[in-house]
């Protein structure tokens, strides 16, 4: 059951009057995955998460959580779900313990088990010392932790976090990130952010949303295959010899003995280039894979007016 699908959204759409906030979005979350939703402000991240959490009915499309349809059996589906909205949904006039105990009851935890659930959620979120304090008197970072504790108190398989680090100081951000990484070991997490390093640090897979559509949906590449390889040769052969190498799809001459070799899909020609260069005495002085950072991908996909045009090539790369 390692790769059980926990969230499956199909052709999710949401309109606000004439505005289309989310347009035909497909999303899959498997067990043990941390999925990062990335997008510029107003791209539809929050709307998507609200729909996944059942706070907003989609205009079209369906959401299945752990195999249960959110529209047909909302109560059963929401049991598998913990949701932390952008603004932590806390009551400032209650103490942390009172608040978490209420959340436990709300999620159907039996009275006898509530104290245990509260204690373990507090422990996970570093709130053990804060139990008796009023939520309203806590700092933003601690309120965020209370929000997180609320989302995991019933130990749901899926946790949805909407911009969990917004408004925190750098140390708090780091703490929350560590917390999310820990959560990822026992829960599947969907996380939204527009902070790129955060996604890169925490998530296993990234989905970039632009204008309500998914324009990129790939694992975060720590050792990804390169899209292109740059070589510099002192005694360069003609381009045909390079093109003949396995894994090279196209050769672009940059002058001064430099070439950009566009890779064939799922291929890495670097080894072949080095071997051929040694054999042909081409005088290899530089061989470098051009790796795209998430930032480059993000800017490329979201800056243009026609994001969909770029995406098939991106996927191939």
């Amino acid at each position: 059951m390692e790769n059980q699908i926990l969230i499956e959204a199909r052709q999710l759409s949401r309109r606000y009057g004439p505005t289309v906030a989310v347009d035909g979005l497909d999303l899959t979350l498997r067990q043990g995955e941390i999925l990062g939703l990335l997008g510029p402000n107003g791209a539809g991240k929050t709307t998507t998460m609200k729909m996944l959490a059942g706070c907003l009915a989609p205009s079209a499309g369906s959401v299945r959580i752990n195999g249960v349809d959110l529209r047909e059996e909302p109560k059963a589906a929401k049991r598998h779900l913990g949701y932390l909205p952008e603004q932590p949904p806390v009551y400032p006039e209650l103490t942390v313990d009172e608040y978490l105990s209420f959340c436990a009851g709300l999620h159907g935890i039996a009275r006898a088990d509530r104290a245990g659930a509260v204690a373990s959620a507090k422990k996970d979120c570093g709130l053990t010392q804060a139990g008796g304090r009023l939520v309203g008197n806590l700092s933003k970072g601690f309120q965020q932790r209370v929000g997180l504790a609320q989302a995991i108190i019933h130990r749901p398989p899926v946790v949805i976090l909407d911009e969990p680090t917004v408004g925190l100081d750098p140390i708090q951000i780091r703490e929350i990130r560590t917390l999310i990484t820990q959560l990822g070991q026992s829960h599947s997490v969907i996380l939204s952010s527009h902070i790129l390093p955060e996604i890169q640090a925490v998530c296993g897979r990234v989905m970039i949303i632009h204008r309500g559509r998914s324009v990129y949906n790939e694992p975060v590449a720590h050792d990804a295959l390169a899209a292109a390889v740059t070589v510099q040769l002192r005694r360069a052969p003609d381009a045909g010899a390079l093109l003949a190498l396995p894994g090279v799809a196209r050769v672009q001459e940059l002058g001064d003995g430099r070439f950009r070799l566009h890779c064939a899909p799922q291929a890495d020609p670097r080894e072949a280039v080095a071997e051929a260069a040694a054999r042909g005495n081409w005088g290899l002085v530089e061989l470098r894979a051009e790796q795209k950072t998430l930032e480059e991908i993000f800017v490329e996909l979201t800056a243009g007016d026609e994001p969909r045009v770029e995406s098939p090539q991106e996927k191939a790369a």
């Binding site: 609200k50 959490a53 059942g54 706070c55 907003l56 009915a57 909302p74 109560k75 059963a76 929401k78 049991r79 779900l81 949701y83 909205p85 952008e86 603004q87 932590p88 949904p89 806390v90 009551y91 400032p92 006039e93 209650l94 009172e98 209420f102 959340c103 009851g105 709300l106 999620h107 159907g108 609320q150």
Partner: protein, 245 residues
């Protein structure tokens, strides 16, 4: 789940100073009225004949006045119920939890009913304090209290609905008060020479209370309040459902 929401609501009502202020003010004003009535009754003991007794005079007078105070005060108690949660973002907590909209609305309403019961107890204690010295007709007092309780249910449900319409508690308070007063004043139409005058009279909130205050228990009156309450709770559920779509 309903009870988890209700208990939380009741706790939040009582940790807010508003509830205590309301209880204090209501108690103060009604105490003032009560003493006034008491002095009146002591001066003119001859008003008590075989038809009107002390329970009628004291209980009826007090509870008649209490309705006006409740009309002013209930919108203040109901205004926060949903609008504030919407404003502070905590409504999403309820909406994303495995509680249905009906459970959410009923839970909130039940929490409010808990507060109403506290008010009822305070209202009951005043006339009951006469028990050692007088021959109180407990049935009449009970009928009056039942009437007040039913009226509070109706006020509360209407207030809850208005609260679900907005995100500003103050607007919910003004709107709730306006709505209640309007339904109250329908009584006026009953005296006009217009078609359906009697229907308006029947729909008015106040007419059904008068019988109960005088100790006449009519199932029709009770059913009126219960239908009124259910109708507005249903409207609240519909309103929240609309928001989700």
């Amino acid at each position: 789940m309903i009870f988890a929401i209700a208990r939380n609501e009741l706790r939040r009502i009582f940790v807010s100073p508003l509830a205590w202020a309301v209880l204090a003010v209501v108690q103060l004003i009604l105490g003032f009225i009560f003493i006034n009535l008491l002095i009146d009754y002591a001066r003119n003991a001859d008003v008590g004949d075989q038809f009107t007794g002390v329970a009628d005079y004291m209980g009826g007078g007090l509870y008649g006045f209490a309705t006006i105070i409740l009309l002013l005060v209930m919108p203040l108690l109901t205004m926060r119920l949903i609008s504030e949660e919407r404003k502070s973002g905590t409504l999403t907590l309820l909406l994303s939890s495995p509680a249905s909209l009906v459970e959410i609305v009923l839970g909130k309403f039940l929490g409010l009913v808990g507060f109403m019961l506290a008010l009822i107890v305070l209202l009951a204690l005043m006339p009951l304090s006469l028990l050692p010295g007088t021959d109180l007709d407990l049935g009449r007092i009970a009928a009056g209290l039942l009437g007040l309780f039913l009226m509070m249910l109706a006020f509360g449900a209407a207030g809850l609905f208005v609260s679900s319409l907005t995100r500003e508690p103050t607007i919910a308070a003004v709107g709730g008060f306006g709505l209640l007063l309007l339904v109250w004043l329908m009584q006026i139409l009953a005296y006009q020479d217009i078609p359906f005058a009697e229907v308006f009279g029947y729909l008015s909130l106040i007419g059904h209370f008068d019988d109960l205050r005088r100790g006449i228990f009519d199932t029709g009156d009770v059913v009126y309040y219960l239908i009124f309450t259910t109708f507005f709770l249903w409207l609240t559920v519909q309103r929240l459902d609309l928001e989700r779509n």
